[in-house]
């Protein structure tokens, strides 16, 4: 007696089809699972056996062998429980299961079905392979509905399936596609809550509009962290395709709250500076596992005290900063993980923190300052379009009532409009922050006046070719924020204020 049940797993961030075969044969009673499973899968024997017995079925008292194909693919996790139970029960009852249905879920000992990771990625993959019916944990229904138009049945308990299989009773449906605004991050700071700092706030707006990387330099306590936390609040909601990517990643790494549907808020990740390169860009044991960079995909990666990060961790950021994705190779295969984010880095100006402070005297020697700055290497700096100094606020400034304070919502309107300009120019293409030199020649055409201004600046301020490109990218975004098709002199002039300072 043999039965087959389809399910899937995640490798890297991609769904993979897995077929569960259960065979019941004469012999000594036993339960064996083969097919390169990890420890969690070996323990499925106990979970599945007890859950079957507690749900009104009887676990066959014969020799039960379960195989998970493709057998050479390493399998991790607990998402196979439901498919194994379905295959075993139906092999015992000698009922074939439909070949176009997939079964996902982890079993509790009482037979309840628990949510699993990666439902979205698995469902999307199986949907492409022609699966037409999905049985998923109730808490994962909203997620699965994002990926498929086929019927998705929420399974709350193994007992519900007994009636379904034996009498053809319908399963309780689940609500339709839910849009959630849940994200793992704390609620963003509103710009109106930050005193002063108009220059840095404006830089945040430009960073949000063009997806430019940003470096905030300032003494301790100047408000760099607060500013960074305000960035998600001025980013537009994710377009559908990007929201699906973000939700899928959150689901694969187990960050999606149970029952959540589409995440439309850009993620915000703030790894601590002691993080290892593997945790930052991805790694893991035998199979590739996404890191912080991938978790921040389409959102914000905030690196506070960036000069304190490990050198190898910082250097590992080069590929994602350059390409928006990264290749992770492990012993049992490699994966290409997405990682296109806005980097917000914060640093002190020098080891003592007071360089450039008009009130305090910096006690560092030029060599110390240079060594400190060199911790952020040239290739990383080259990718950071905006650099601003965040001065310490005087107590008087903090207490004084401010005349004009713009709320995040107002700024966000301008950001959305600037993004629309960019989408009109390049419907598929990158945002301004990722434009290449060739693309800039087309998108950021300068008139004669601007040309002269930029050439003078390049000459006087000794700007490198890369620095000129940075200025052009930023000027393009400033013009978009200004609702202008043509870059004018004031846009270039403003862009020049965000360059790296001495």
């Amino acid at each position: 007696m043999l039965a087959r049940a389809l399910c899937g797993t995640v490798f890297g961030l991609d769904g993979v089809r897995v077929e569960v075969e259960a065979d019941i044969a004469d012999g000594l009673p036993g339960f064996h699972i083969v097919g390169l499973g990890d420890r969690a899968l070996q323990e499925a024997r106990e979970r599945v056996k007890i859950a079957i017995n507690n749900s009104g079925f009887e676990f066959p008292g014969r020799r039960v062998t379960v195989n998970l194909a493709p057998a050479q693919l390493p399998k991790e996790g607990t998402g196979f429980d439901l498919a194994i139970a379905a295959a075993v029960v139906n092999a015992a009852g000698d009922r074939p299961l439909p070949s176009d249905a997939a079964w996902l879920g982890e079993l509790a000992l009482d037979g309840a079905v628990r949510p699993i990771r990666g439902t979205l990625a698995i469902t999307a993959h199986l949907d492409r392979l022609g699966v037409r019916r999905f049985y998923v944990p109730s808490a994962n229904v909203a997620e699965a509905r994002i990926a498929t138009a086929a019927p998705v049945h929420g399974v709350g308990h193994l007992r519900d399936l007994k009636a379904h299989w034996e009498a053809g009773a319908p399963l309780t449906g689940a609500p339709g596609l839910r849009r959630d605004v849940v994200s793992g991050a704390p609620p963003p700071v509103d710009l109106a809550d930050i005193r002063g700092q108009p220059h840095a706030k404006r830089a945040l707006e430009v960073a949000a509009a063009g997806a430019h990387h940003l470096l905030l330099v300032g003494p301790p306590g100047a408000g760099k962290t607060l500013l960074a936390r305000a960035l998600p609040g001025i980013l537009p909601a994710l377009p559908h395709q990007e929201a699906v990517e973000v939700t899928s990643i959150a689901s694969c790494v187990g960050m999606l709250p149970p029952g959540a549907g589409l995440l439309e808020v850009p993620p915000f990740r703030a790894p601590h500076h002691t993080i290892s390169p593997a945790a930052l860009v991805g790694g893991g044991g035998a199979t590739p596992r996404p890191g912080e960079v991938t978790r921040a995909h389409r959102g914000v990666l905030f690196m506070d005290e960036i000069t304190e990060f490990r050198r190898d961790a910082l250097e590992s950021l080069r590929q994602p900063l350059e390409e928006g994705k990264l290749a992770v190779a492990r012993t049992r295969g490699h994966a290409v993980l997405p990682g296109r984010f806005i980097l917000v880095a914060a640093a002190n100006p020098c080891p003592c923190g007071f360089a450039g402070d008009p009130k305090r005297f910096c006690e560092c020697t030029p060599l110390e300052r240079q060594r400190y700055r060199a911790r952020l290497s040239g290739p990383i700096r080259d990718r950071i379009d905006l650099q601003v100094t965040v001065p310490r606020q005087a107590a008087g400034e903090l207490l004084r009532a401010e005349v004009v304070v713009e709320a995040s919502a107002t700024v966000r309107e301008r950001v959305i409009q600037a993004r629309e300009h960019q989408r009109r120019r390049r419907p598929q293409g990158p945002l301004n922050g990722a434009l290449t030199g060739t693309q800039l020649r087309k998108d950021a055409v300068l008139d004669a006046t601007c040309q002269v201004l930029l050439e003078t600046a390049a000459d006087r301020l000794q700007l490198s070719g890369r620095a000129v490109h940075r200025v052009l990218r930023v000027a393009r975004t400033i013009a978009d924020l200004d609702d202008r098709l043509q870059i004018d002199e004031s846009h270039i002039a403003e862009a020049l204020q965000y360059r790296e300072s001495g």
Partner: protein, 335 residues
């Protein structure tokens, strides 16, 4: 003003060009601190006619000098000061050195960080060579990030030391070296010297050797100005412009005459520059700025009641036309 940090980083990059493998301590890269790729070292003995005449007059002249480059014959003035100089001090040293060099005077200094380096860099912009007196051997440029600077100095002027090759930068060697700096020079200009600093030692030696002592004043709030201000109280001449230095030396009359015409032409343009930019929008910003105390971008935005992008625009235009200097978001007027 050129950015000393950026220049310093160039100096670090330069020697790596020939290096193999990853950067790191590598005993085989001994030639790193060696600026002489093809130039030869000459030894000038006390008895040599080429030995600097002024240096021969001090009571303990070095018996021999190791020279890389060419010992200039023009009159020399030393500029010395703190290694932890303020931006103001560096600007002052840079400008004074450039003007002295433009007047045909050789600027002597010690190749140290801060004021010394600013003086050498300023002098390199003039048309007279500059001389660096080192405390280490010619094969050990100290500090190492001044390798490129040393190479530039030796290309037109000279690096001088009494120390043999391989001599390390030991603390005791620097005060001894200072007597050569003052000994070579008609006078010593002190720019920013804290109390008990090397620059003050040089000034004291200059006085003992019968040379003129000058001082560029600083802010009374600046601890680095205390030593220099004490010199002024004790009779050192206060220096504002290059003419204050040249006036003291009858033998520099011709240099003075040359500078006179030069500065007059410049003063005329300066008065125009001092009256600020023509554009009323830019003038409104410029008017709020100071020559010494930097003012931050955000501060200007609040005071002028302008939004940040407008302040950015005006500051860039002012910087482009040379009216102001920006540093880490804070700006000062260009003197």
């Amino acid at each position: 003003m050129r950015d000393p940090l950026r220049d310093a980083s160039n100096a670090r990059i330069a020697p790596k060009r020939g290096a193999r493998g990853p950067a790191g301590p590598d005993p085989s890269r001994k030639g790193d601190g060696d600026h002489r790729r093809e130039r030869e070292t000459t030894i000038v003995w006390l008895t040599d006619p080429a030995y600097p005449w002024l240096l021969k007059q001090i009571h303990d002249p070095p018996p021999r000098l190791y020279v890389s480059g060419r010992l200039p014959s023009e009159p020399m003035i030393a500029i010395v000061g703190s290694r932890r100089a303020t931006p103001y001090g560096c600007r002052a040293a840079h400008r004074l050195a450039r003007d002295l060099s433009g007047a045909g005077v050789v600027v002597v200094s010690g190749l140290a960080r801060g004021i010394d380096a600013a003086a050498h860099r300023g002098a390199l912009e003039g048309n007279t060579p500059t001389v660096a007196v080192m405390a280490t051997g010619l094969d050990r440029i100290y500090p190492p990030e001044h390798l490129a600077l040393a190479t530039a100095i030796a290309a037109s002027g000279a690096l001088i030391t009494e120390a043999e090759e391989g001599t390390l930068p030991l603390p005791g060697r620097f005060p001894v070296r200072n007597r050569i700096i003052s000994g070579l020079s008609l006078g010593v200009v002190v720019v920013e010297a804290a109390e008990r600093s090397g620059a003050l030692i040089t000034a004291r030696m200059a006085a003992e050797q019968g040379r003129e002592v000058f001082c560029v004043p600083g802010s009374i709030e600046n601890p680095l100005a205390i030593g220099g201000h004490r010199l002024i109280k004790d009779g050192a001449k206060l220096v504002q412009t290059v003419e204050d230095v040249l006036d003291e030396f009858p033998e520099l009359a011709r240099a003075r005459a040359r500078t006179h015409a030069h500065t007059h032409a410049r003063t005329r343009t300066r008065t125009r520059a001092d009256s600020g930019p023509q554009d009323p929008e830019l003038f409104a910003v410029w008017e709020l700025l100071d020559w010494v105390e930097p003012r931050h971008h955000d501060d200007l935005a609040v005071v002028m009641n302008l939004d940040s992008k407008e302040v950015s625009r005006r500051l860039t235009l002012l910087e482009m036309s040379g009216y102001i200097i920006g540093d880490c978001g804070a700006v000062t007027r260009r003197a």
